[in-house]
Chain length 121, copies 2
DNA sequence: TATGGAAATGAAAATCATTTTCATTTGTGC
DNA sequence: GCACAAATGAAAATGATTTTCATTTCCATA
């Protein structure tokens, strides 16, 4: 299993926001770093597993990554410009727990995203 | 330009929630409807343009479609066997509304899924 | 009822992100 | 130095989506 690659982390830091795997790869190439696309994908995935980065999807479906604090949170995403706000989901956590119990599900996780148009759009 | 295809709309109605283009296609095939995948994609796109359906992205990036205004519910999905239970999300609706208001978002929708292991798995 | 053009259709090819395969390289403990 | 596990990356495979392009269906009008 590939480990969280410090070179990839560094690129994400410098990118300072969201970047797709392809973008990370192109950036590293442009800077003369020798790395394979496969390794970029693997590194990003293990960073996601370790909760060092957040994944989201562009409107075209491409996955985009960003370093994140690691705390569990949800997103409010603008359909127009893609701006995202991290939000609290206390109500969701409770709801998920309740529902899981009601139907006898164990080992549960959940996703919850809100999407709409931000004030600017 | 392809027009909003009533057969595709009908499938989405019966699906009663989100369905991907591929799923719509497979469903129609299974029911003996003769239609091309290309046409499914085009119909869905024009339905989106006309705001008759909403698009979202699954976690794997696949686009999923749902009739706007249709009955709205959430899912409890088993990671083991794939069984899904439709559940109520009253708490979620409230949460989404509150959050949207707080950040000035308009025209909002949301997704929320819970996944875990069902009693049998 | 013909007929001509516009819109709709779909099969097959192209595209593009992502994943898988697999052989090679690198690193680490002994 | 040696063996073995982990990491790497090139190339092929995958899978959704889009594009191309030739054919078919509609529909208005002669």
């Amino acid at each position: 299993m590939s480990r969280s690659n410090p070179r990839v982390v560094s690129v994400l830091e410098r990118a300072g926001g969201f970047a797709s795997a392809q973008e990370v790869y192109r950036l590293m190439q442009r800077e003369g770093e020798s790395i394979g696309l496969t390794t970029v994908y693997r590194s990003l995935q293990s960073l996601v597993n370790d909760k060092f980065v957040d994944v989201l999807r562009r409107e075209d479906g491409e996955a985009i990554y960003r370093l994140c604090g690691g705390a569990h949170h949800h997103h409010l995403v603008c359909k127009g410009c893609g701006e995202t706000v991290e939000i609290e989901g206390g109500a969701i956590e409770k709801w998920a727990k309740t529902m899981a119990q009601e139907f006898g599900f164990r080992d549960v996780g959940h996703t919850a995203e809100i999407f709409g148009l931000c004030p600017k759009c």
